[in-house]
């Protein structure tokens, strides 16, 4: 091969490498950008007066006097809405019955949508469900519901296929006393909702109210932290000890290489299988707890990440120069002392890498905790409750809120907020571990 071909080959290879890395970076941006953009919407958004009312009612946050003043102003702006509707109801009563039936249904629709937007009619009885007690707490959702108030959705089949069209309700009510309601709402929505830029960092530390319609994600966040740390608590000592045994104590032979193959295979077992195993073994056979519990989930997750930790620790221990071992032994150290004082410290950065990787995995795994630890709704657990109680956890609740919640499209901000928080948690755990590793490495290398 001549010089030019070799150079060409080298260049094209590095070009390929750069392209691959760029692609990866691009995908990362494509995935992360919307999560960050929409997820931050759970923390920073324009909150309406309904939000402030809610916060005061539930958590007693905010200034009571200021809120009362604000409520008064808002009520003043809203008053004409209710008056116009009352007027129209009276007008309706005087109409001939065929007309009345036509308008009655449309009015019901308007009433329902206005209730959605502004909260219950001040004269009505307080509804039982919390979600019906308040109007839209977020301005972005309020805008959406405003559209529902102003426009009726209809299907146009003229082209053969059904097309959704928005018909202004004002047109329908032309000539009646309620006609003026729609331009009034459109023009005064700001005064009626009083949107204000709100920072809701307590999204992380508040529990959820009315199954995630309101409030934060503390139980889920705490559940994830418990599960992850619990899993590490079991898996790290077991994994490292197993790795030390494999590398330093076990007699290398057929049995050990067979066991190594088993461990590698175990690392590739689908996580749902671990979940079922956890249910069958920890809950049904040895009964670590009466019901699903954080403990059972942690044990299951620990099993899941154990192979990764063992393999990574083994690699790290085997990479420690044998000269260190010789030096320690020649100074009269026993095997145990050699491992503790020389081999483990030198292998620590590699072991930490394994821990970092598996910690991220444990935090994000859904399948193993479905059967063993996760519930859709639950309160934040105290430390002494983790042995007996199940807990909500971010990965499971993201799935749950995105698929099984009754109002999936009304709590988008919670869904994205959860994904965002999960990524943040994993990132935080990883960064911590990386910093620790860098410290250790610095100590080793001066």
């Amino acid at each position: 091969m001549d010089l030019r071909t070799r150079k060409l080959l080298d260049k094209s290879f590095s070009a390929l490498g750069v392209i691959a890395i760029l692609f990866m970076a691009l995908f990362l941006v494509v995935i992360l950008a919307p999560i960050i953009a929409k997820g931050s919407g759970a923390f920073i958004f324009r909150g309406t007066v309904e939000y402030r009312k809610l916060m005061f009612d539930i958590w007693n946050r905010g200034d009571e006097k200021a809120l009362a003043e604000e409520m008064q102003i808002v009520a003043k702006a809203r008053k004409p809405v209710y008056e116009m509707m009352d007027d129209f109801r009276r007008e309706l009563a005087a109409m001939p019955s065929s007309e009345r039936r036509k308008y009655r249904r449309a009015l019901n629709d308007v009433e329902k949508n206005i209730e959605n937007l502004l909260g219950p009619n001040p004269d009505d009885r307080e509804p039982v469900l919390m979600r019906q007690r308040y109007g839209q707490t977020r301005w972005d959702m309020a805008r959406k519901h405003l559209k529902d108030v102003l426009y009726a959705t209809e299907w146009d089949y003229s082209g053969g296929m059904g097309v959704k069209v928005y018909v202004p309700r004002q047109d329908f009510f032309t000539g009646t006393s309620i006609e003026e309601l729609f331009p009034y709402i459109e023009e005064n929505i700001d005064a009626m909702m009083a949107p204000r830029l709100t920072l809701y960092l307590r999204f992380l530390t508040d529990d959820s109210r009315d199954s995630h319609f309101f409030g934060g994600i503390w139980p889920e966040l705490l559940g994830t932290i418990y599960l992850t740390l619990g899993a590490m608590l079991f898996a790290v000592p077991m994994g490292v000890i197993a790795a030390i045994y494999f590398c330093e104590y076990a007699k290398q032979g057929l049995v050990i290489s067979y066991l190594r193959i088993c461990i590698t295979t175990l690392a590739g077992v689908p996580s749902i299988v671990f979940g079922l195993f956890g249910l069958a073994f920890f809950l049904n056979t040895i009964r670590v707890s009466e019901s699903k519990s954080v403990l059972a989930g942690s044990l299951t997750l620990a099993l899941l990440i154990l192979p990764t930790i063992i393999r990574a620790s083994e690699e790290a221990i085997m990479a420690v120069p044998s000269t260190y071992k010789e030096a320690a032994l020649s100074l009269g150290a026993g095997k145990w002392r050699t491992v503790m004082t020389v081999i483990l410290p030198a292998a620590l950065p590699g072991i930490l890498t394994g821990i970092v990787i598996s910690m991220g995995r444990a935090a994000g795994e859904t399948a193993p905790i479905i059967f063993t630890a996760a519930v859709s709704v639950g309160k934040a657990l105290n430390l002494d409750e983790v042995f007996t109680n199940p807990s909500p956890a971010l990965p499971w609740n993201i799935y749950n809120l995105c698929t099984e919640h009754e109002a999936v499209d009304q709590i988008r901000h919670v869904q994205f907020g959860m994904v965002f928080s999960l990524i943040a948690v994993v990132l935080f755990l990883n960064i911590t571990a990386i910093v620790v590793r860098a410290r250790v490495q610095k100590n080793l290398r001066n």
């Binding site: 000269t323 030096a327 032994l329 002392r337 030198a346």
Partner: protein, 271 residues
């Protein structure tokens, strides 16, 4: 080749061995096997107190294996076993009753490549003493200063005892390794080609150091370098293909070798 020519080629240690030295370590028909392969074959010789004994021979002759057999470092190698006797302090060190940890405390070792731990210089030297139960700071400091002084490196590192030893140069690291071995005050120090990874200047330093150390310690050194063996040792063992060919005072072995193989080797005909 006549003796005069040899003398001009090799500078022989003029610091003559005493007439009736005490032996500290004796091998009797000592063999080491790697599986079926007999790497050291029935070696019988003595190593004398406060003297330097060099083991020389071509690559693969079993000299390192023999040296590592003296404090049972070969135990680490799977499939390696010893036969015959290695007598130290009236006991065969391969007896089942021997505590290897105690043995290695009394017979220290310095390796071919400097193998300092990735710890501070202080902790490196203290590693052995701490293992053997010395915890008091003042005592440790004393040991560190003494050992580093003995290894002729104190002046170079006294201001940075708590920096990582990895930052030292190769020669300094090797002297630190010697200091580390000295810290547990062994009776014998085994050196496995301690200068083969070092530059000539560091080599000279280590050789001078060995000259100093032999006043208090017994040194057995394996070396590839015949000039080095001649310069620093009192006794020399010549090994070839697992057999001990010749053993005697260095001066005699290098000037009037008894065996043909020895003469061929030291005159550079093979090896």
């Amino acid at each position: 080749m006549d003796n005069d020519t040899q003398k001009s080629l090799i500078t022989v240690n003029t610091d003559a061995a005493s007439e009736n030295p005490d032996s500290i370590l004796n091998t009797e028909e000592f063999s080491i096997f790697y599986g079926d392969f007999e790497a050291v074959r029935k070696v019988s010789c003595s190593f004398f107190k406060h003297h330097v004994t060099a083991i020389i021979g071509p690559s693969g002759c079993g000299k390192s294996t023999l040296l590592r057999g003296m404090n049972r470092m070969n135990d680490l190698i799977p499939g390696c076993r010893a036969d015959g006797k290695m007598i130290f302090d009236n006991a065969n060190i391969y007896d089942r009753t021997i505590d290897v940890v105690q043995l290695r405390k009394r017979i220290g070792m310095v390796f071919q490549k400097p193998n300092v731990f990735p710890k501070s210089i202080f902790d490196n030297v203290c590693y052995g003493p701490r293992l053997h139960g010395i915890r008091k700071r003042s005592q440790l400091e004393e040991i560190v200063e003494r050992s580093l002084n003995q290894a002729a490196i104190w002046d170079e590192v006294k201001d940075r005892l708590h920096t990582n030893a990895i930052g030292l140069s190769g020669g300094q690291q090797q002297r630190l390794c010697i200091a580390r071995a000295l810290a547990i005050t062994p009776e014998i120090i085994l050196m496995d080609e301690p200068t083969s990874a070092l530059d000539p200047k560091s080599t000279t330093k280590i050789e001078d150091l060995i000259g100093e150390l032999q006043k208090e310690y017994t040194i057995v050194i394996v070396t590839h370098n015949m000039q080095q063996a001649a310069r620093i040792s009192h006794f020399t063992v010549f090994m070839y293909e697992g057999d001990m060919i010749e053993f005697g005072k260095t001066q005699k072995l290098f000037t009037k070798p008894e065996k043909k193989e020895t003469e061929d080797y030291i005159t550079g005909r093979f090896g």
